[in-house]
Amino acid sequence: MKKQSKDVKNRPTSSGRDSKEYFRPKSKKELKEILKNNDILTIIAGGTDLLVSNYQKLYKIDKWLDLDLIDEFKEVKIFDDKIEIGSMVTHDRLVRLEKIKELFPILHSAALDLGSPQIRSRGTIGGNIVTSSPAGDLLPPLLVYDAEVVIISDQEERKVDLNTFFTGPKKNVLKEGEILEKIVIPLKKDKSRGVWKKVGKRKALVISSISLALNIVFDKDNIIKKAKMAIGSAAPVPLRIKSAEEILIGQSLDSIDYIKVAKAAAKQISPIDDIRGTAEYRISVAKNITKSALKEVTK
């Protein structure tokens, strides 16, 4: 009844054109060596974006650089004042890390909402950042947690504040030959409360129509000491909503003017009409999720 796979001989000729260059460095050192000797490399992390955008034209890619075997890029290190997450940490692993759930609950929730189980198995935090989609699910949470990214090339290493990393839809400050090594998130003493909201046409496998991350620190009298808010899918880049943050700071729980904050948020975004919603719809939903996020966080 069952056709054993070993009954079928390998048919290796059916897989297309002949080999080009495929680099799989096993360490940062090997990676730097490859970067030094090659220009124009197509970098693959989890592949969940790259293989989609190059569907049916994968054979056109000349030189692959696969980061999958670099163990240093898969490390998660916790220090007293910061946590470092390697760029090749998958969403699935991010979801399972107890420390992330405890210290950065919005990042945990966003990773849990991202794609599908299959996508979370392969997709990486570094890939989500480097793809730089305004709809990247992990980006608003990383922005409100003041994340920085460490970028390396064969020559140097630099640290960039994520707030200045994105320059447009799918554009960022990375230059040819630069690789995102890790994400650094400061650990703050203040206890904060956060909310993650993702609005889309279905729950799984959806590119958000709009998303929001809000993180608030209350002082002992329940006055808002610090407020960070970011919205995704509503501007050319995932955006910190500083106007709303300014209104929130200094307010007490019952004095928050939800409508004023929501209006400020709506004013700062610049959404477009696309397949996932019109600009008008997004502005309206931005106001509503701002209000519901505030209500949730102050409960």
Binding site: S15, T48, S116, Q118
Partner: protein, 157 residues
């Protein structure tokens, strides 16, 4: 380039191109056509297989990246002449209509049942959230997973 991997408990050695996807390796090079290609963009889940015990859409994994890994496809589930309880449950509950999504559905179900022998409806829906059925037979698919989990649990006792 040559890669070595274990597919359904058999060691295989295959020559692949850098751009060969895991699904092409399975279907074309190894003749394992039980794994289906639907959208080719990771959105439908028809090509789902287990890679090192993780659910992946084999259209979004390069064959090279599967080097050294262990792959389980729908063909690897049955033993001798007996269907796997999950396969049997899908038939018994009438969860199969056109059948195209079922290999992926069953692989995702297996991953869930391996970890949880008492899945709730919500847990099943979440585990299968990356698999689309366009015959709209989800109710019976959820029934099938429950029945399979129940049978495997009774069998284990």
């Amino acid at each position: 380039m040559e890669i070595k991997l274990t597919v359904n408990n058999e060691k295989r050695k295959v020559n692949v191109k850098p751009h060969t996807r895991l699904i092409d390796l399975l279907r074309e090079d190894l003749g394992l056509t039980g794994t289906k290609e639907g959208c080719g963009k990771g959105e439908c889940g028809a090509c789902t297989v287990l890679m090192d015990n993780k659910v992946v859409t084999s259209c979004l994994v390069l064959a090279v990246q599967a080097d050294g890994s262990e792959i389980l496809t729908i063909e690897g589930l049955e033993t001798k002449d007996k269907l796997h309880p999950i396969q049997q449950a899908f038939i018994d509950t009438g969860a199969v209509q056109c059948g195209y999504c079922i290999p992926g559905m069953i692989i995702s179900s297996k991953k869930l049942i391996d970890q949880n022998l008492n899945p709730s409806d919500d847990q099943i829906k979440r585990a299968l959230s990356g698999n689309i059925c366009r015959c709209t037979g989800y109710v019976k698919i959820v029934d099938a997973v429950k029945q399979a989990a129940h049978e495997i649990k009774s069998g284990v006792k």
